[in-house]
Amino acid sequence: MHVIRRWSGRNARLLNFLYRRSRDVLEFIKPLLRGIGYDRLDRPMALIERPLKSLLFDCRMCGDCALVQTGMVCPMTCPKQLRNGPCGGVRPDGGCEIEPAMRCVWVVAWDGAKAIDGDAAMAAPMAPVDHRRKDTSAWINLLRDADAAAAERARR
């Protein structure tokens, strides 16, 4: 899995492009998806997401996808599941504090982020994970969040 993750980090630019395009498609068919009902789509979407993202990112199905902000490297594969950058224990050779044979997820992510848009995406603090979302579809959750944000704006 580490080999794939490092490949993903190296090809962060391409993956980021594909990721954003998929999001555009999703945004486009949103009215249809909303019509079917997000809750009804959760399980089938998760079934598609799991093998695809597991293969590409060693995805842990947290349901709260952060790939765009983390150089296309899944932060949930960090043994401490850090979402805001590396801990202070990274070894001099870039190895993980806990699993020395594994390259630190954030060292790979840093290279990935630089390939995409510099460090801009990594600068903003990320909120803690919503653990209720585990094993649900991150794509559907993304639409849920967008709808909730729009509703909030309208309310104001």
């Binding site: 401490k80 850090l82 950058g85 224990g89 001099p92 504090e97 806990i98 630190c104 603090p125």
Partner: protein
Amino acid sequence: MSPPTKGDSYARPTVTGHSSAGRLERALRAGRFAVTAELNPPDSADPADVYSRARVLSQVCDAINATDASGANCHMSSVGICALLTRAGYSTIMQISCRDRNRIAIQGDVLGAAAMGVSNILCLTGDGVQTGDHPQAKPVFDLDSVTLLETIRAMRDEARFLSGRTITSPPNVFLGAAANPFAPPYEWRPLRLAKKIAAGAQFVQTQYCFDIAMLKTYMARVRDLGLHEECFILAGVGPLKSARAARWIRGNVPGVHIPDAIIERLEGAADQRREGKQLCVELIQEIAEIEGISGVHVMAYRQEDLVSEIITDSGIMARRRPGRMRKVARV
């Protein structure tokens, strides 16, 4: 005797613009070179073991760090140590690690700590359980250091829990974080500090500094970003017991960088413990000259008795002359 009224232990900032009522914040904001020190938590239930260690440290420091099972090794808790220390009037820095508690437990501890009179909280991610004496334990990591900072800042400044629920009397604490300029990705480390500041860090304590050249490179970038003006930076230092101990630390304690030259110097000395102490004194003197560093954080693992001597020998106390407040009447 009447019960204590609210405010006896729950300390509000006494100076306008301060986050806490604590001595550390006052020292730093007054521009004094601050000293903090780590108290090695006992493997005992005897309060005397805490007080005996605090007594030697308090002679020279502005606040005592109560560690939270550092290295994932089990000891008396930071909450427990802070309860004992605040009761006796010591100034404390309570460390919170995200490894062992979730957001519900942590926020409860923050309120409890502030109620006891804890003025400073250091927000840490924490070492992995695999590095400690209970590798079988379940790691929590519900929050990380950055989200922990944001959580406590919102509790203090917006008087609300992470859930949004209102807090009637917010915790008045000075917020700290850790920084490690000596671990990869090196170029990211100053930006990571910026992120912690954005999340609420008002002071940072760094990992052990044994490589002054590397620290200077880091600080140059920090100054370029203007971060030394947004946050008080305390450099971590500590005496090495021997060359053998230094090698062990380098190989086994995550994130500690010790250059070969340091180990060679210790090896060549007749009295390695004495040389380790002298080295620490010299490092403090060099660090005090670096622009943007506001103090030192002494971590003398099982050598608390040396801290007072080290600080005195370094001469940094002489810099702490009473300044513009000297006309204030004394008792």
